[in-house]
Amino acid sequence: MKKNNTLLQRLVIAPYSFWALLFIVVPLFFVAYYAFTDSGFHFTTENITRFFTARSSITGDDGTVREVYTYLLIFWRSLKLALISTVICLLLGYPIAYILSRASDRTQKILITLIMIPMWMNFLIRTYAWMTILQDTGILNGLLKSVGLRPLHIIGTETAVVIGMVYDYFPYMILPIYSVMAKMDIKLLEAARDLGCNSFGVLRRVIFPLSLPGVISGITMVLIPSISTFYISQKLGNGKFYLIGDAIEGQYVANNLHFAAAIAFILMIVLLVCMAFMQRYANSKAVA
């Protein structure tokens, strides 16, 4: 019996293991190889050092000039915008996932489809449409003016970039949380209530810990694409936001694949470490 199990197990996991090795692991060595070589493919750590030491001067709003570490600043800005977007997605998406999971089967199906529909329209096009809405002379300001309110300046600000990121990756937050919540046994919630928990207590002590795997994958699925995007920042940020994705693309276009690979390599390591910590946190919670 046990033997059967392991045979089946090997059979089902074999194609994926092979695939993962060939198309996930091996290409990473190419990134590392490029990151640690110069254009003549001789070993160098110069690309990595450049990331941490390159400096440039920027002028503040008050006209003061200061020296900054170019790539560390770019990295920090990308991380900041991505984190803000992820938190907003989580705060907005969690209640929706909960409402969905408690609705009738039919409503669930309709709402899930409604949430997915916008994603089936090309994201370049959707971002374009946001430009039309958020422009100073755009639809939103037209509406505000017609009801006698002051127009808002949104396009080209951090707010616009965050709106774009939240919009584009929002469903990636809702779906994983929803799919975990839909499986949650409603009896557990009733039991908690019977044992004297108030609504907030049920949420904090029962629903949230149980939905944690979904929350973790939701966070991953929003954070990663938003940290490396360059299209949204170009279109909605009026080309004034230079993020880590722009930096990699810029180096590729300038035909400097080795430095592009180095930036990618560092980004990858940082994200891997973050995710490992998050996974550990999730596991410890699940055990508790």
Binding site: S56, L73, I99, I117, G239
Partner: protein, 648 residues
Amino acid sequence: MKPAAKIYTAVILLFLFAPIVILLVFSFNASKSLSVMSGSSLYWYRELFRDAETLGAVRNTLLLAISAALISTVMGTAAAVGIHRLRSKYLRAAMDTVTNIPMINPDIITGISLMLMFVFVGRLFGAATSLNFATILIAHITFCLPYVILQVLPKLQQMDTSLPEAAMDLGCTPMRAFLKVEIPEIMPGIVTGLIMAFTLSLDDFVISYFTSGNGFETLPIRIYNMTKKTVTPKMYALSTIIFFVILALLIMSNLIDTAAPVVEKPTRERKIRTAAQKRRIRLAGAIGAVLAVSFIVVMIAGAPKKPVLNVYNWGEYISDGSEDSFNAIKGFETWYEENYGSPVEINYSTFASNEDMYAKLSSGAVSYDVVIPSDYMIARMADEGMLLPLNFDNIPNYQYIGENFRGLYYDPEDLYSVPYTYSFVGVIWDANRVDEADTGDWDLMWNSKYAGDILQFNNSRDAFATAQYKLGLDVNSADREDWNLALQELKLQQPLVKSYVMDEIYNMMESGEAAIAAYYAGDYFTMLDAEADDVDLRFYMPEQTNYFIDAMCIPSCCQNKELAEAFINYMLEEEPAIANAEYICYGCPNSLVYESEEYAEDMGEEAMEILYPDLEHFSELYNSFAYRNLSPDMLGYVNSLWEELKIN
């Protein structure tokens, strides 16, 4: 649902659908603008159905998404089951880590790393091109797999392990227990995984961009490559159609649902389905699978058997039959069959910039027969042996190329290239907001009176050039100090700049969002056609400005040189040449075009004056103001200066 929940859901849906409403409305726009409505019409829908290239891209995108979603769902579900049963803690951790990699890797890295590997393997086996449909499919499956696994794995973890054990105790074989008990239990995860994989594949741009091969152009790539010209409402029309198709499917599936008895809340009882329901589900599944498989078979079997000419050009840079124009691509196919008696097919692909094109071609990942780069890139490619000398016996129409467009610096002996278009950079301004006395030179773009109304290029070479011309510096300087001065000038301008733009310029100038911008001469007319009522766009050329030429060349990876030369020759024939010149709206170096009265009439007086200002002295002006190729060292330096500007 409680009222509060209802309101909240409605607000979220409003947010999700706001841009969709914009798409719907503007797809009916009578003009080309995406921000100014000028009457409603079905014009763009008719355009869409005539555009074979875009429809082909839609077909490619669907083919890819369906294949990738099906394969990754099957493989990913199996993998999740396998991972879930792993007893060894270390193996389990290793699998989890590997699975996480494509998700933690930004897509640009996944794309580049896979491309590097494919090219390496392709060279190892001596293949002419290392990228094709298989490579882009592999890439898509690779990035979809983790999403499927991450949907299925939590379901397995939540599943009561006693369920399959009970089934086996009751006499099920492990296989049967798996199929009858586990699969239904994890089905929601599998379905979500499948839908996610399909959606991700459909929407992916970056990874496809790096791993797609000759002529296999997906919709996102096609849209992205329109960035020098502009995205038209045609794409909105396409999105609108997609929207209604999905809506129809949704309503249909709901009708089927209502016919079946409504099942109670999500508890265990939900799993018990009636026999009729099971049959219906199986039937739906079978129909879906048959449709998907037959679609893929038809697509692959339907691939052309004729000789294929691979053409690589800028986005929106050939008359393709849209807007009632002559279709130069189909035109060549017909012309060739009439003259040479054998059928031929053009496989047409687009790029967004010279640098993108160079990166793809030089990696050996793709092979094209005809490319249309700009002057400085031609010089670089010729230097590096990437171009083949042309046999002008096969291109007799070269005689129509004006004297002024021969022997220019990038190809002094006219060996490698046949000029296709030329143009120059000028300043576009809104006469309703800008004082005419301030216009005339580059100073307008630094005039603090118009702070917040100025647009600057979002590509380093063109942006630096505006500063260099303003300061009277050499745009091709090998002296870093010159570039530093230009950077200081751009930094001075920065507080006045509203936005750094490429194709966004169309929307912003047409709607009056900005009042001053530098751009390529011919594109001004596109904006003029769509300007809002309170906008009055004008154009002028500063004395010193960039002149550029895009020319047809044959790269060294060409597979069929004579066919490529026949294509170049055909592009110089009167009919396609005029059609292209009218469609692209740039200047044309072909005397059959600029001497044609019909063409002059179509373009109108103002356009002729702007596009053909001083042909007598063209080569002189051109040679003094055109961009030259910069050394790799200098390119790197300019790029770092650009980064310094952009992080401010």
